[in-house]
Symmetry: C2
Subunit: 268 residues, 2 copies
Amino acid sequence: MSYENLNNRQREILEYIESKKTASYLELESKFDVSNMTIRRDIDFLAQEELVIKTLGGAQLAKSINDVYESPVANRLSINGAEKKAIAIEASNYIEPGEIIYLDGSSTCLELAKKIAEQSKALTIVTNSLLIHMELARSSNISIVSLGGQYDPVSCCLTGPNTEEHAHKYFVKKAFFSTKGFSPSVGTFESSAETFRIKQILASHCDEVILLADHTKFGQKSLCKVFDISQIHTVITDSGLDNDNRVVLEANVAKVITAQLKESVANF
Amino acid sequence: MSYENLNNRQREILEYIESKKTASYLELESKFDVSNMTIRRDIDFLAQEELVIKTLGGAQLAKSINDVYESPVANRLSINGAEKKAIAIEASNYIEPGEIIYLDGSSTCLELAKKIAEQSKALTIVTNSLLIHMELARSSNISIVSLGGQYDPVSCCLTGPNTEEHAHKYFVKKAFFSTKGFSPSVGTFESSAETFRIKQILASHCDEVILLADHTKFGQKSLCKVFDISQIHTVITDSGLDNDNRVVLEANVAKVITAQLKESVANF
DNA sequence: TGACGAATGTTAAAATTCAACACAAAAATG
DNA sequence: CATTTTTGTGTTGAATTTTAACATTCGTCA
């Protein structure tokens, strides 16, 4: 599922298919100047990973929720997929039936939304992410509240002043956020200011601010600081976190939950 | 695309593939007791309609925007599909580049949204329908504004007091509505009061109220009246409308646009 | 009835897939 | 440093699948 399994050629083949929606073996053969069999094996692999679908003389894009999912957010999904999934499982277990929850529009929260939709807890979920809304809409036990506003095609989220105003109306028990970068002594960082205010509003309208941050986020800083470390009640991370960061983290936030990663990211 | 093109066997094959996600020609051959070639041609047709994807020895489900689309609204799409498509084409031609538009959450407006997404007019579109939002999100020329609020899984729309409050903020040039029933002397009717207010608010916040009503809607009344005939500026209907209704309609609304139905619903 | 068109069945040629083996380069081992 | 092992790639031909062309059946309508 995650891109790190792919070698260069496979990655390029996937990108090519992503751009053209479909490609023939012949086409790819000459484009990459390798034998038919090699392309064939690459496609076999990509098909196993469910990234493409094999057709007669070639392959086409698989993406189950086609167009909307071809968003940058969806692509980001594949990065550190195992960590995000593990964190999403821990996070979903941390949610009690009946609770009112906010999910922000990050790829990690999208994973969490998938887990939530699979379970059948009765929940009320507030979100400004179209992708999360779509995932949750599959489950009949979930009452969904969307913050309206201007749609941002890059993040697949609703943003802008009207979203912010709408956000002021809602109060939730647990608010889940992800982040671009996280310093366990300083706080969280984002590269754009787009969703800055919405995150701030919801953080001040909840009982518990929960940060989902896999170990690769630690130490990364970015353009603007969103949350001060003192605002964060709970952090859910994965077992890949090094000890130095863990010590600082545990000193600065009230609760740390660690999702256990399986040793190998097995492809069955 | 719409189910009425399909014969019984094709419909059953599709249902079978929908339930099993994938099927082989062999499997289908014996299941329907026809020759390999017949199944093959059925699958070819279903693949042309983009309902399934051909794979080596069979086919698998295509469903582009998977699960959410299995909603009651999406199913309603297939009813009078030809009429709705024809009306949607007329309606999309009636929209000028740069305009600000409202689309309500009906199946006819969803068809219109598809047509709009296919074209590349730069538009700003306000909607409270998740399905319409998803369709429009495919096009990069469209600025989408979502009315937030409580998600209603039956209609796939956002409703409730917060949606209404949000709706008060927006003013559009043309507002497109559909309806459950329509009397050309009285007005429009809905069977539920859910979206009543939102429709009313937008109708009072636009320059032009446009009703999309295929000929089957005429004469149908229902639980509650939404628009008085005097509120409606323009009606787009199809050529299947009988003369009596047409005379009354033209006497009561300023503009009537008629979408021409093709005699046969040809498969190319 | 019989001519017509649409849907289905039959067949064989063409194309594609697949599995087995061959080979070379890179990595691991002693 | 030579060697074994592993990994990735190429080649081949048999097996399978697809395709196109033609044959047949069925129902409809003059």
